[in-house]
Subunit: 323 residues, 2 copies
């Protein structure tokens, strides 16, 4: 079958047409992939920034597909375990170290396969799982977002951030975003965001605070130098949820702000099986449709990757696998 394979750190990835279909274990099923979606994680794998890399593994965490004639999507989190608080030691994400979704067929535990919500087409269904799961857990299981609260999402334009924005709007929150370009600011406003600020501008945090005050919940995936500013934007007793750290370590964190305002700074990554089911319920109830930036054929993975890496992408980059 056709697949995108992570060869090794030197060669990077490779499009191959001769990859053998894996034999499924008794508890696994094989799904025929319709569409797959890229995540930053895929780029981290190629760049060697992901821990525990294994050579010759089919890449990709997100997919929609067909199983027994029915449209399905896949929860990419394998073996989360029984705790709602944290993943088990056996936890894996599809696409590294186990074979992933950038292929014509993918084998997964049967419990990870769910009927695709009816209102989504195959590209949208492929774009949902990882971003939807991460966003749902960040906003609700961890951030305890409630209707009417003010929430600030950093990095509006990325897949998880966009899904956060859509979900927060759906439950009646007042949503604000930071983003890197004027073009994206306008698109975010169209989506329903009350205000979107350019995080490249000096004192963007003070500007935002002056106009809109502080926030009940802040969601961030960057860390780095921005984190101290984001902490300063949280209301007393408010929450800041971190689901990534693309800008690396954070300096200048003030203990005084954290303790005097009784803040909660929480980490989150992916989500439990329950988070996934609740996410699907929310998406179905509110007919949330992931924003698709662009669709590429599987054999043009390089272009899809270039688009993911471009600061201009807005929403999810998708691979069409089946016609």
């Amino acid at each position: 079958m056709k697949a995108i394979v992570f060869e090794n750190l030197e060669k990077g990835f490779c499009f191959r047409e001769d990859v053998k279909r894996q034999s499924a274990r008794p508890d696994e099923i094989e799904v025929q992939v319709s569409s797959a979606a890229l995540n930053k994680r895929d780029d981290f794998v190629i760049k060697g920034l992901y821990p525990g890399l294994v050579e010759k593994v089919i890449m990709g965490s997100d997919a929609s597909g067909i199983w027994k004639g029915r449209a399905v999507l896949i929860n990419p989190g394998i073996n989360w375990g029984d705790s709602q608080e944290v993943q088990s030691r056996d936890y894996q994400i599809l696409g590294m170290p186990s074979h992933g979704t950038f292929a014509e067929w993918v084998k997964v535990p049967q419990q990870n396969v769910y009927p695709a919500p009816d209102h989504l087409d195959k590209h949208e269904a492929a774009a949902l799982p990882l971003a939807g799961l991460t966003a749902y857990r960040a906003l609700f299981s961890r951030g305890k977002l409630q209707s009417g609260q003010k929430v600030l999402i950093s990095g509006g334009g990325g897949g998880v951030a966009m899904t956060c924005i859509q979900m927060a709007l759906a439950v009646g929150a007042e949503v604000y975003a930071t983003t890197g370009s004027l073009e994206k600011q306008e698109k975010l406003i169209d989506l329903g965001v009350k205000s979107a600020v350019d995080y490249g501008k000096e004192d963007w945090d003070k500007t935002l605070q002056k106009s809109f005050g502080n926030f009940d919940l802040v969601i961030d995936s960057a860390g780095g130098d921005g984190l101290k500013k984001l902490i300063g934007l949280v209301k007393p007793a408010g929450n800041l949820v971190l689901y990534g750290g693309t800008k690396g370590k954070s300096d200048g964190i003030s203990p005084q702000i954290i303790f005097w305002r009784q803040l909660n700074i929480m980490g989150t990554s992916m989500g439990s099986d329950r988070d996934f089911r609740e996410m699907l319920e929310l998406v179905t109830k509110h007919k949330i449709r992931p924003v698709i930036d662009s669709v590429f054929p599987l054999d043009d993975f390089q272009s899809a990757l270039d688009r993911l890496r471009s600061p201009h992408h807005f929403g999810k980059v998708v691979l069409q696998v089946a016609e």
Copy 2:
């Protein structure tokens, strides 16, 4: 009456014998102070490190005393408000900006006065309120400490840290501490701590981790460079509670550790009226007695302050006010 008065930033504090007793409002009562205890807060006031300083204010947050012939102690947190999550905007701590406990008489809202637990003498009762309240909220209301969990307390030797250690031991936790001297290490072991490490040694965190693994709960009041090490010592889904920041801002904080381990980093300061009541219940049930480092007469406040500032103090520094 006699009192220690914060004059202003230039002059610092002054022992005076001619201070007028304040007239109490209808909702206030006047307590005759038996003993008072020092806190780092008092030193911050003198050094100008406390926000909102007011001149000519009687210092001090902690006291035991006599009211209507009965031994009482005082909750130094005024107007916490109705939320358990965070103090109201009207919240004040006795001793700045309102007149405090380093005096023969102190007026406080009647609801802030509680019968002193029978097993405490007047010095111990004076040593309890601020440290007990802060420790209780950090460990239980915020940190959700449970019997059998492993907890690490930084800065063992300080008033709040010592109370944290005593309370955590009382509920059946396995308690570890960091401290600055060999002498204190030995005293902490005597108190029941399983291991106490010297935070001045390089890689103290790795040494601790190698022998004892990671912790369900870490309590810190320093921030600064140690915070990133303490974060690295928290178990997956564990809690780190910050109640101070004596070493200032923290650098090198890794978002990856926070999000992948699904950590909770929480700020706490003082506590609600409910926290205070629950703290008194815990202290009474387990007959916890605050560790007293030393007792000085009120007019020798300078010596008490010197002792508070000394790295050798172990437990609370107390002022005897009445004979």
